[in-house]
Structure formats: structure tokens, C-alpha cells
Symmetry: C2
Subunit: 660 residues, 2 copies
Amino acid sequence: MSIYLQDIPLPQAQSRLREALNDSGLWGVLGSETIPLDENALGRVTAEPVWARRSSPHYHSAAMDGFAVQAISTNGALPSKPVLLTIGAEVHYVDTGDPLPEWANAVIPIENVESLNAQGEIVTDIRNPTFIRIRGAIPPWSHVRSLGEDIVATQLVLPSGHSLRPADLGAVAAAGIQEIHVARKPRVAILPTGSELVPLGSKPRRGEIPEFNSLVLAAQIRSMGGEPVRFPIIKDDLDAISRQVQNAANEFDLILLNAGSSAGAEDFSARVVERLGSLLVHGVAVRPGHPVILGLIRRETKEGKPDLPGCIPIIGVPGYPVSAALTVEIFVEPLLAVWLGRPPLERQTETAIIARKIVSPAGDDDYVRVVLGRVDGRLLAAPLSRGAGVLTSLVQADGLALIPRGIQGHEAGEEITVHLMRSRQEIDKTILAIGSHDMSLDLLAQFLARRGRRLVSANVGSQGGLIALRRREAHLAGSHLLDPLTGEYNLQAVREYLPELPVRVVALTGRAQGLLVLKGNPKKIYGLEDLIRPEVAYINRQRGAGTRVLLDFHLKKQGISSDDILGYTQEEYTHLGVAAAVASGRADCGLGIAAAAQALELEFVPLYQERYDLVVPKVDAEGDLLQPVFSILEDADFRNSVSKLTGYDTSVMGRIILED
Amino acid sequence: MSIYLQDIPLPQAQSRLREALNDSGLWGVLGSETIPLDENALGRVTAEPVWARRSSPHYHSAAMDGFAVQAISTNGALPSKPVLLTIGAEVHYVDTGDPLPEWANAVIPIENVESLNAQGEIVTDIRNPTFIRIRGAIPPWSHVRSLGEDIVATQLVLPSGHSLRPADLGAVAAAGIQEIHVARKPRVAILPTGSELVPLGSKPRRGEIPEFNSLVLAAQIRSMGGEPVRFPIIKDDLDAISRQVQNAANEFDLILLNAGSSAGAEDFSARVVERLGSLLVHGVAVRPGHPVILGLIRRETKEGKPDLPGCIPIIGVPGYPVSAALTVEIFVEPLLAVWLGRPPLERQTETAIIARKIVSPAGDDDYVRVVLGRVDGRLLAAPLSRGAGVLTSLVQADGLALIPRGIQGHEAGEEITVHLMRSRQEIDKTILAIGSHDMSLDLLAQFLARRGRRLVSANVGSQGGLIALRRREAHLAGSHLLDPLTGEYNLQAVREYLPELPVRVVALTGRAQGLLVLKGNPKKIYGLEDLIRPEVAYINRQRGAGTRVLLDFHLKKQGISSDDILGYTQEEYTHLGVAAAVASGRADCGLGIAAAAQALELEFVPLYQERYDLVVPKVDAEGDLLQPVFSILEDADFRNSVSKLTGYDTSVMGRIILED
């Protein structure tokens, strides 16, 4: 039985950790070090205020090319009544930046003087006259860059707790400081545990999981200003884990003990913490990530290191990658902020409209990954996969929507607050595609990236795409809906689902649909008639998917009842999902496209040709955001890379099928 | 004569550079390299799309603790009609994360079964029964984490031109990739030139300037993803500069030739570029920074390196630090973006109300550094020093307001667009202080920083501060305005300047005012009566400054005419400015506070005691933003550090003088 059944609320968990660290004298800046002032100081955090040791500039200098004088000697000069000054004693030429002679207190710009020779004639070498003639008096200190213009000795240059930026380094240097006291980087030990884990690089067998959490955690720690060290994988062995935890505790400031994703893995972590220190929190009411463990580990006292704290914090990080990453954000980042003396990370927030209903456990703070896009001027938030194992949901996410405890979710259309993981500019360049999936969309995404656009696709099938367009939840929909009556693609469905919305329908590509089977086609499946054979398990696409419509169309035509097809009710949402099902033996065959078969080294039994179109609301088709989409359809490189996909026919690419 | 008199508009300069680089095949990604997938890949930019080599997970696994079965074997099970399954052949216990047996296609959660022994009795070791009894059928693939749930082989994981974040590294690893192709870091040579420059660390003499521009430039280049190398200082010698430029051209991708701040220094740069390559642009209509030089330098052909481009770009960076930093932002950052294949940096923008009138040359794109603060719900932009030499204006700045060519500035109260250099959160924590300057404000700023507030002070004198409060341009004003009639401080002035605005006036500190003179008081200045001695030069504070009022009050009292005081018209805006003037010999004495004298090692002749108050509009005094200010006034640490300043009396600190 798992022993973390009592999840406590997040604030409570955080305060327990804070209090425990406070009691151990670990709630504050860990320590400082003196580093030379060079570009490596970038991003380091000042450990004490920086006071100017020197003024900058530290002497008066000429602010213009001209002649240094005592202002008083210009008194009485008028256009009608010029004053003659002699170079040497009372006048001296200076370039911009030259120090002012001690006796001078002003500069007459060279363009305001007449340079004369001994005979009183104007000279061409205006910088080397014998006399100058001026026709105006000047006040003292005019055209002088005076001492301390930028920095005056003893002034505050930077407060403590300030993260150093390029200009800061210059200011500190200008203030006469060559070394700077910065907070010491917290050293964080990352311990991956789990008997199912294998190192990256080794080809994992069934039941083995490549260990990549420690990579993500280390990168997070580094980006937060800490110094991560990744430990080798430790098997699920209480003693082995305890040994490494104790070693880490003696050398580091913080331990991240990453549990395996197998059941009860967290129990090991909990037992280790109880054995070597004290368990503060076991389970927090956050999703993903609730099996978090917070504790303290006793340090083994060392010779000659009496100043070391008696214990260090340990955080038991859940095994699933999304849970692991969020645990670091929620618990480690604020701790590193305290240890570095800088403010904690605060993400910008945006109010967005949730595109689809989301349900959330009332008892938890629920972090939902969302993609954001501006459609019809409204900022939409489309929820991504909720699975704690779906790391790509973090890669795709534009932000996190926190659904606090006590709230059981949101209806589509409600406003939510999103904590941004991308800049507003990036978000404004996001194209939301929805509908049927096609391999060429991945290529389109890549080509769009080069043109400063981000394509985010949600795969909900052709019909789902058109419905989303009607709700104005996306910029374009990929569709390959066959009209059983006319045999034409998409037009009928567009009229049916989007009676009100003017659209442009443009052909992306033609492609073959067929049956995906294992190499060598062991079960000899050549047509739909084979699907009713009892030993043949079929994997289907979801209702509304064009491929599903295509199947039903031909089943009807051939008079085959879906009830007779084993697995007809088993649905996948993408072609690759179908291919994966066949490749893994979950099913013997499924209808799909050749590209998917090729992707997973399956055999492809071609049956039909179909057209895959992009349906784009007129208002979007004519807007700036989507222009690159249409120019890419004219791009020979793109055409080539699509035609390289087996079964693809790009002759139709870019053809306007419908223009309202 | 300077030879860069024809400044061309910014877009034109940029396109000249782009075209020249295009012709040389240098407008695009410089090249790529393969690096191991570890935390050092953080921030690198993908040079090609990343396609998944492996699915993740790469096998079906149990999503819950329970019993793996073939779903079909559960058919017909009902609460009233349980089904008995035998462990072994058809049922097998699995933990969460365990791979599913080949023959199974579903998991029954352990909480949904009764575990029985051979005799059909319920057993306590529920994971090791002989039979399990179930009272419900389950569909295939329930409670299974299926192959490819996160990533399906061959799908696009990341496009090219993507800057790697922690989660990205995990996704790439999960997709079975151990090495990643990223854009090569552009190598940038930074060459500081100028005979007036001395290395950091050496104590600069008069006329010598510590060289810190290369430090700022290097830090900028690094933060933009380039690899900077700082060259030693080169004197203003055409041949010496040419030699180093040629060396750099043969080894690097870009040269930043930083001219000295002395006149004609840019001419050297221009001549070097003309000698070793081609001069594209000499002077751009931007401020600060207009003497920018853009050009190409020929590479000396190398044995066995025929693939190297024939030339590389060189950018002549102006000598003044602000100009230098902005030149890198405007010209180098976009270039590095192209070379790395990533989008260029785009700062978030905010619309703000300009607090003070700014005048701008119509012919230039003018970048004004501003501080932002939210006062009365309005976002205010207060312009900072415009001086190209005032690096601290970049340190303090919250953003840049671009005043485009053709616009000659803005009136106070107009809306402007600000490109943010700090996050909105930081800006919302900014306290705008204005008015008279006091050393204790620097200490206050430091204490506020620890409490998550940023204090930005503008020094405009006591009266100026109160006027700014009336215009609601600041959160608080420091004031020490003596009322000549009552001898009381500030109350009279507050009534006069803020008749409408309810305020809280709180005492910050008492302090001594006196005459600042050189050590040893060489001119024997002991009172105001000495100011009229012909050999005594005085340095004054600006009109409206409390110190100025104090002086005039006592001059009147002693019947001294200001006309008889040499330098009475010479104004400084801070106490330290006055001290600097005396220290530098610009003046023999000035009225000011002891702290300023101490700061610049001057002698202080105490004359008067005065009180320095903070005037805070009621609405701000009661808001969250300023609460830390009042708690700090109760803070013993703060009191101590202020009382350490000579001449300070903290007994009044925190006393409420007026509460409307």
C-alpha cells in the first residue's frame, strides 16, 4: 500500500518547509563569494549593496571640441564687440573628452570662434591659432562634462539581491570596483532512482525507461541560478539509496530525490528520509505532482567544518516527467530565490478564454498546460494533455492555468488566468490548427517556424475541426471529409457545419488511404472484407475522423456490418496512433495513410485516394498571421518534402477549392 | 573635421548591412555543430528540426496497480454475477508502470477486485491471490498507458530555430536522441581603442578613462547567444588598430571596434575600415549612438580554409557607454539572431504617460531611457538623463521610449510606447521618489530592495518634489523646506503646494547643514559672512532646493546680498554634486550636509540643524506598495545605519508630522 494518502494543501506544505529551514538557519542567503568583474558575473546576484568607490567621470572634461577658457575672460563679448583671447595663458584647445586644464572652467565650441594668426588673419588650421576672437560671453561650466556626471563616489550603484545585467557590470566597473560579492550558487544533487531506469544512450528494452528527468531537473536548476550535479541511477534498494542520499547530504545544499514512476517508488524515498532525517510533508494537493516529499537529512559532522549546517533539505520529486518539472517550479525555485537573495520567479499572466471544458479535482491545485492563440481578437486557451507522463505538453505549452482547490473546473468560454511560459509576441504569432491529422502538417509547422510563425495542431478529426472553426476556436482546420453522395471532399461538410462562416478551402495534398498491417502482412489482409474474419483485430479512428467516414462509406458500399468487425469500437485519434497500435500488436490492421505505416515500419495496403484540404475562415485567410501558410503552399521546397512522403500527390497543392 | 556628418536613417543603415552580408553569403545561419544532450545545451538554438527516433513510452504499461487481463475475459461480469479469474494464465498482477504482458490488453485496478485463496476465501495479501473475483466488465485498453502516449516515432519534436528550454531537452531525450544539432555560436571580437583608456584595476589619473565598455559589450554578446572575446586596449594608432582588426577578421565572425570617446576617434575606425575593407555606413540618425560605423573587412585567405567567407562584418561602436550598449542592441542583436536562426529579441511594450516634457531632434530616432511607476493607477514614464555618458541611466531604466524621426518630442501628459527592460511585476513594485536628495534615501532604497520594492529617486529639490506630487508624478517626496516665518519645516510648503491633496508627512531624519570645504579649510571659511570674500567661490543648490531656501533665509537674516557671492548662480542638484564641486576645486565651499562632505573626504563646518521629512499622498500612504517604507522607519537596523552618517539625528525618525 502506498503511504502518501494524506495530501496537504500547497501553502501548508510550503510553510512547513519554510519553518523547518528557518529553525535550521537555512532560510536566507546561503553565503557569498567574491568573483572578478567580468562577463561571467552576468546573472549572478549581488550579496551586498554596491557603493561607488570612485566618481565617474573622475575629472572634468571637454564636452565638445573647442577652446578651454575661464568663463570670466569672455565677459563683455558681443557680436558687435568681439573679444580677442591669446592661446596659451588663458586659452587652450581641447578635443571632446580631453581633461579640462585646472585653471579653466568652460569650453567655447570651435564653431563659435574665429581662429586668427599673429597678424590677426583667419587661419585654415582652426585648431592651431595664435588668437581666437569670440562674439559672445559664456557662463562657467558650459560645454564641460563634469566630475561625477554619471556616478558620484559613495552613491548606491546597485542594491543587494540584484541580478547582474550587462549595463550593471559597466556601472560597477565605472564606480571603481574590480571584484563583486555575489551569492554563492546553491549546489543541488539530483539523484535518479528506479530499477526500471536505464541511462540515455542505451537502447531500452520492454519495461526499461530511459532516464531523462535528471536532465530536465539539472537544466531547470541551472536556469534558476543553482549548480546541479546529476548522480548515476540508483536501483530501488533502500540501502543503496540511503547511502547516496547521505553522501549527497554531506556535500550539497539540496537533494532532489527523483523517484521512479513505478508504484511505491515514492515509498522508498519516504522511508529513506525517515531513516536519515525527518519527513516534513508526504503528499501535496497539487496536480500533477501530488506525491511530493519534503524533508530534512542530517549531515554527518565533518572534521574542521563546524560551520556547516546540521542538516539539509531534501525534496522527493515524483517520477512522471511533468510532475517532476512542476515540483521544481513550485518548491525548488522559491527556495533557490531565498538562498540567492533574489526575488522569486513571477510569470507574466494573461486572461484567456478556455476553449474546451476542463474538469479538475476539487481537492487539488491543478496546473493545466494550455496553448494560447488569438482568434477573432479573443485570446483562447486550449488545454493540452493532462497526463503527468506527457512531457510534450510542457514543450508545447504557452502557459499554465492554475485551477485552485475548491474549483471543479471550467466550462468552455469561461475566462481563466494563464501564467505565461512564452512571450506575448510569440503567442501573437501562434497559428491554431485543429481537425484531422496529416504528416504534412508537421512539415508545415517546420516551414512556418522559419517564417516566424508557430503552428500548434490539435487532432480531433475532420468534423471536430469544422465544429471548432464554427466556435472560432482555431485559425484553420485540416479536413478530408468525403461526401458519400457526391464523392466530393469537404465542400458538403463545410456547407453543413459552417453555413454562416465565409471560408477559403485550399487543397494541401492528395494522399493514399489504405490498411496498415505488420511487415509481410502475416494475416493476409487485402481489403475490408478481411476485417470480419474472427482472428483479425481492427483499430479504428474516432467518430468524425475523415478516415472513419471513408471506412463507413466503403463498408456500406460493400454491405459489411461494423458489428462483425472485432475492435471497430477501439478508437485512436491520429494515423500514427493507429500505426502504433498495429506495430505493438494491439491490433492487426487499421485504415490510415501510407506515411504513418512507413513511420513505424509497417506494410501499407493502398485502397483509396483522397484529398486533404485546409479550411480557413475568410477573415483569417486575409489576415497577416496566416499569409505564410499560403506562401508556403507555393514553395517548391515544401512541395518536394511533402511529395517525399509515400502515397502523397502534391499536384493539387495550393488549389483553391472554395472561396466564399 | 569629423568625417561622419551625413547620418542616414536607421532602416536604411540596417538594409545596407543586410544587403552587403547577403552578397557575401553571410545573411543566414553561420553553421551548426553537434553537441551532447546535457544541461549545457540549454539556450542553444536548434539548427534543424528534431524528429522522434523512438516512441515514448515505447511499450504499453500499467497505469494503475492491479491485474493485467484480456478485457474479453471480463465480459458478462456484474455485481450480481461476479466472474472468477485464475492468476497465471489469464491474470497477472502489475504495479503502476510495469510493462503489460504481451497477451493482456487491460488492467483491472486492485481496488475493484476481491483477492481469493485456493479455498475462495478473501486474502489479506491482496497482491498474491490464487483467484480474483470481479463484479464488472472492462473495455480493452482501460488503465493502460499505451505506446506513444507522449511521443510517436517520426513526429516533429522541435522545429529548427528553437531555443532549448529544460523541458525541450527531456522531450528530445525521450524521443531517443542523444546528440543535437545546434547553431554554432557566432564568435565576436571586441576591440577597445583609445589612447585615454586604461585597464580596469589600474587607478586612472586625470585624463585617463577606465575601459569598461568591452565588459558591457561582451556581456551583451554572451546574453544574446554569441561568444565574445575581449581584446587588449589599442592606442589611437592607425597601424596598430589595423593590425588587430585584420587579425580579428581572420579568426572571428564579427568585429566590434569600440572607438574612444575622444573627438575624431571614430575617424580612426572609419579609416581602418576603408583601408582593410569597405565602409558601408558612417553615421546613423539614432540617439544616443549616431556615430555608428558599419563595414566589411576582407579576410586574408588561409591555407586549407577555402570555405571561409571572403570578408566579415565590422561595427564601429561609439565610445560613450550608453551609445555603445544601444548600438549592440540595434545592430548586433538582430544580426546574431539571423546567424543563430532564432527570432530577434522583441521587448514587451507598455503604453505610459510621459511625466515631463522631452525634446528630441527631429532628424533622429531617439531612444529615451525612462523609469516607470504606477501612480494613481496611471503608468508614468519619467525620463532619465539623456547623456550618452550616463551609464547609470541604463542601469536605472525600466524601458526605452523610442521617439521616431520626424517627431520633436512630447509634452508632459502625452502617451508614449515604452519597450520594457524589466518585467511588469518589477515595475508594479517600483516606488517613485522625487524631491530633495538625502543620503538616507540610498539606505532606504537598499532596505526596500530586501522587501521586494524598488526605490527610484529623482532629485529636483524640495519644492520640485511637492510640485511633482501635486501633478501625481511620484509616490513620495523628500522635503526639508524651512518656513522663514514660523521656523517650522515643510508644513507651510505642503499647505501651499498641496492645498487639495491629503497627505501624510513623516519625519525621516534630523541632520546638520553646514559648509563643505577642503580638508584643513585652507580658505578659513567659518560662516556665511566669508562667502562674500572675493577669493571665495561658492557653489549653490538649485532654486527650490531646501538647502537653497535655508541659505537665503540666513543670508537675509545676516543682511548679506547674494550678488556679492561669487558663484551664487552656479547650481548643483544634489549634495554630492556640491561636494564634488568643492573636492574638484570648481568651488571653495557650498552649503550641504555632513554626509556629503564625508563621502568626498571634505571638511564640514556645521551651521544649522534641520529636519528631513517624507511627504506621502494619503492614498499612497495607505496602499500596499508603500507599506514597507513605513515599516522600515520602525526598523532598528535602518535607524542604526542612518545614525552612522555624520551629523544625523534619528530620534525623530518615523514621527508623524501631519496626517490629513
